[in-house]
Symmetry: C2
Subunit: 334 residues, 2 copies
DNA sequence: CGCCCCGATGTAACCGTTTCCACACGCCCG
DNA sequence: CGGGCGTGTGGAAACGGTTACATCGGGGCG
């Protein structure tokens, strides 16, 4: 067995209680004692057993992150933000992906129980309300991008509607009229909100709404690729494509180029998210920036606040602003 | 407090020992008893306390992953592979990033102690041997891409040398002679091995080695961008650029295009990794494929094997084959 | 018929912390 | 001078599981 607190107690000549107090900085201890105990601890290379510790404190110093999947740069940015912030607060991060249904999320939450002090859920499901509603609410939760209004949990959202509205408006001012929209996965809250923003902008501009210009996608590159192929069969051909995320926009550009269609001259293509790679592709992708890593970091802070108040804090509901990023693919600069 | 095994025992009319046996499928129990206990457990919504469990079993059912950073698609692919495999084996994944020095790795390993049953380390440091050598070897470790030969740990490597050799050879057969190489971060084992493969191929082909064609990079897009800018100042100008990873290759292509240099006509650009996005950029990136997710998955399996044998198994040392992927950016198809 | 073994179950020790409570001591104050 | 208080420390009870060991019938076998 490894060295325990008892060994340190014996070696330093004090009781386990005192050793514990020294190591945790709790309770009054003589400086002299502190020194001796510290000495013994380092000499023996004592490392507290985290299981034992969390058994008695019921704190794990770990946060969970539930993601729908791990494809593309979007999610790695989320994790990056989460990990970074968690680390600076002395917390660990437990990730779990491939949760696309309420059932899977509930199951994952179940198995995480007791392993984490709080969980950030990025849920693609339409009605997160229902999902979270009948979960044991013992663990602090923060919902990311769920557009849900659930009592008892914190929620962080991206201003999807506003971003999509602004981008659509931008395309309209550039003179594009037949703007196709490439949707996210069915029921995905982000995707839906972006779609609504697009529709609203069209409507406000008095452009007639054409359902056939709303293409199906699933946020992954290849779906953008296929959607663009399909778009080329539409007559009259759209002069712009607004993809619900950057990955699909990139896939779409690939398909258009293959077909000899010029971007942005023939078809403007824009995305959403501003993943790091967006500026390096050709043409550089115009998109709607979301500070994804920051969102992840914020989620951690909210969670830690909840943990600190034993989940009896006033709930937070924030919306992250987006920013229009105009590069080349929208045709603004030629 | 939550419902404990004692509550289940009381409710079912059996002892905690029997309940435990039923729930873990250990020891002989009457079918009738099993039913009753199961009933009581579900009725009370009993969830075993993982801390208590791991305190007595010293198993956490969690694996750790240490990564140098989380930028780009490469690492998210690793995590994806790890998570997927871990999940199918009922394991959780603790990730931790930004570990670029032996000290940081050691520290992270320290704080993970007791939280995980094993750790996969993707270490960029040159001499992982030294690092891991003086770590407490209680926890099973698997080293990814360290090109290190450390006793007592499993190691998984990518055939960096072979892949780079093949790619360089490919460029040579296409008639390129002044092939620049864009290096990875200083001391990064993958980067170094790829560089050596490049050099070896040049040497074997009798091409004189020109140090000025070896550019500095750090695996991130912007470094590829800047390196390409620099490359354009070299005279005579190189006719090919082999980037040590795809992210940099993509950044480089962006820079070249900005400068009006045609890829691949004027300068061929190739990468390494075959991240998902590689095929969608323009020109589609020729690269060396590595099944990153599979590597992550394999790491988990190795780790679980080690855990199963209480870290007293025969160590594994595997090299993952790479595959030359010829697309457009190398100029083979025009 | 007695013994042994096996199946089924219970009792309690143990895992390594934290923390409540008790206690000793010195000091101040009434 | 005694009681209260604050400081420093120790003893031991949690925390909630797992599991070694004990117990108890009953069936097979010599």
């Amino acid at each position: 067995m490894a060295v325990t607190i008892r060994d340190v107690a014996r070696a330093s000549g004090f009781s386990v209680a005192t050793v514990s107090r020294v190591l945790n900085g709790s309770g009054p201890v003589k400086p002299e004692t502190v020194r001796k105990v510290r000495d013994a601890a380092t000499r023996l290379r004592f490392t507290p057993n985290v299981a034992a510790r969390s058994l008695s404190t019921s704190r794990t110093h770990t946060l969970g992150v539930l993601l729908p999947d791990l494809h593309g740069e979007f999610f790695s940015e989320v994790i990056r933000g989460v990990d970074q912030t968690a680390q600076t607060h002395g917390y660990h991060v437990l990730v779990s992906s491939s949760h696309n249904s309420p059932q899977e999320i509930a199951a994952a939450l179940q198995t995480m129980r007791g392993r984490v002090d709080g969980v950030a859920i990025m849920s693609p499901v339409p009605n997160a309300e229902a999902l979270v509603a009948d979960l044991p609410r013992s663990v602090p939760l923060v919902l990311l991008n769920c557009a849900a209004d659930v009592a008892g949990v914190d929620t962080l959202d991206i201003d999807n509607h506003g971003g999509a509205y602004a981008m659509t408006r931008h395309l309209l001012t550039l003179g594009r009229r037949r703007i196709a929209f490439l949707r996210g996965p069915k029921g995905n809250a982000d995707g839906e909100a972006r779609l609504r923003g697009y529709r609203a902008a069209l409507k406000d501009a008095g452009v007639v709404h054409d359902r056939t210009l709303e293409l199906d996608g699933d946020f992954q590159q290849h779906s953008g690729y296929h959607a663009a192929k399909h778009l080329l069969t539409i007559s009259p051909r759209p002069d712009a494509l607004f993809a619900a995320n950057d990955s699909m926009a990139i896939g779409a550009i690939g398909a258009l180029r293959e077909a000899g269609v010029r971007v942005p001259e023939d078809v403007a293509v824009v995305g959403f998210d501003d993943i790091p790679i967006a500026r390096y592709i050709h043409p550089a992708l115009s998109t709607v920036r979301v500070d994804i890593a920051k969102l992840g970091g914020r989620a951690v802070k909210v969670l830690l606040h909840a943990v600190g108040h034993r989940n009896e804090h006033t709930r937070v509901r924030e919306t992250f602003a987006t920013e229009l990023v105009v590069r080349a693919s929208c045709g603004a600069n030629y």
